[in-house]
Symmetry: C2
Subunit: 303 residues, 2 copies
């Protein structure tokens, strides 16, 4: 089954995954905002540890009204722009379109399902480190498998085909319970994203100091407990796994840190506020996470 893809939000993540799909022969429409002219004229340049490549003559748009429906829509916006989706998505949808949310945090699928009742929705999480170094120019620094999962799909054939297409494009994919994957990623994101912003530092520094490392661990334990209340079992020793992963990253800036450094609004809502609400609704108050959330909101307010 040959699927037609659309990428909504051609930043580092959208450009990289969309680019890999094009490279492997898939048909992909790109919705591009700030880099439209550059990508239209000069395509996408991707420096990747998996091999550099340059794609020209891409199907590029700066307005979804000009686009045709696709079989699969990859949502690669920052979650801070998800309020735009109610206008962006309709022209891209046919009856069976699958929307795949490639974002960090929690609650995006639930919001979409509420806005578009009956929509086919899946999600994917990556540990990939990719940054846009210039308009239309993406640097992909580390490998990272994608954990994909269905949220609500009428027919799993399209979802399965998407996973296969990604694998064919060179992206390792495992499929898992989506909410479990999202909470597992939060176990990493909540301590390391927030503290790297708060301290204007990198993840290696957070590991080298006993106090910040202990704080990371306490935050991880709270998120793990939150996940467990939410109904997704994560064991406490997953914190050790995350410390190991982080050590391997070396000097690393989480995407929230990069956003903040570039004066972009941070994804506090999806990475902190929403998980806090969901855990609280399930009966657990992540107190330290709530403190970090307030600290980040203060920092955001001062920018």
């Amino acid at each position: 089954m040959k699927l037609k893809y659309a990428v909504v939000g051609t930043g580092a993540i959208g450009g990289f995954y969309g680019g890999k799909l094009v490279q492997s022969g898939q048909s992909v429409d790109f919705l591009v905002h700030s880099d439209y002219e550059q990508v239209k004229q000069h395509g996408l340049k991707i420096d990747s540890v998996m091999g550099n490549f340059h794609l020209n003559d891409l199907s590029v748009f700066n307005n979804t009204a000009d686009m045709k429906p696709s079989d699969v829509v990859l949502v690669c916006l920052k979650t801070t722009h998800n309020y735009l989706l109610k206008d962006i998505l309709p022209p891209l949808l046919h009856r069976d379109t699958l929307v795949v949310v490639l974002q960090n945090g929690l609650g995006m699928e639930a919001d979409l399902a509420k806005e578009f009742p009956g929509l086919n929705i899946a999600g994917g999480l990556t540990i990939v480190s990719a940054v846009k170094v210039a308009p239309g120019h993406i640097s992909h620094l580390t490998y990272g498998k994608m954990s994909a999962g269905a949220y609500q799909v009428n027919d799993s054939k399209v979802f399965n085909q998407v996973c296969e297409d990604f694998i064919n494009a060179g992206i390792p994919v495992d499929t898992n319970d989506l909410m479990l994957s999202r909470w597992r990623k939060l176990v990493w994101n909540i301590p390391f994203s927030g503290l790297s912003v708060l301290f204007n530092t990198t993840t290696d520094k957070l590991l080298q100091n006993e106090d910040s490392k202990q704080l990371c661990q306490e935050l991880m334990f709270e998120v793990i407990e939150g996940a467990n209340y939410f109904g997704r079992l994560i064991k406490r020793d997953f914190a050790d796994t995350m410390f190991g992963t982080t050590e391997l990253m070396g000097v690393h800036s989480p995407s929230m840190k990069i956003d903040h450094d570039n004066k972009r609004i941070m994804e506090i809502e999806s990475i902190y506020t929403r998980p806090l609400k969901e855990a609280l609704a399930a009966g657990y108050n992540m107190k330290l996470v709530a403190m970090l959330e307030k600290q980040l909101k203060f920092i955001q307010s001062q920018q």
Copy 2:
């Protein structure tokens, strides 16, 4: 009764209080570290909202071995230097000397009592805002009464005379249970000192933002609960009083912020670590305070 005073640590606080005592006719020896030559030659210049004054021909020392015992020793060091007291104090003590700890935090009197069994010890807390703007030059920005209290004294006459001498010097003094005063001050210090360092900001900014204000309140409530476990009753509405006080301060940098800006070691141990230990020993875990303590220790480690 005429008392002979010694000031240990002639920074902003020691210089201001010692200076006021001299101005009112008391006999004061000053132990001066970094500004010794300046103060020896040019005295102390104090710009104060209570009236500017300049004191020459002070009794100035840079080594306690050269000093004679005093009736009252005002300890005005930063608590980060209290490890020096075991060497500094002995030459200054006669049998009835009263040591008055004019420092922030908790546990300093207990440490002294352990190091010098039977020593007469009192303490005092101030809300005074004073900074050293140059060697031997102090700027006193706001009035602030002192809350004094005995810790262990054989005879309260000397303590009472000290309070009277301060009042005669123009410093309003009330006497209160010392540990209650220390915990009340911590209700202010713990949120505002730490967060102003963490966010590189001033107290007015912390009040203007809803998230940081709420965080201040939550930290205050924890400290109040800690005090109550410790056996010192503070009501929750004392937090409102502290917000009111802070509002009146306008643009204000807590002394910990000034220390950090000037690359001095922060008083984390006396203002955070010790209160945490005391509350925990009394059965209460101040979790948010513990998080802020770790954050400050990380920041300190990166300086």
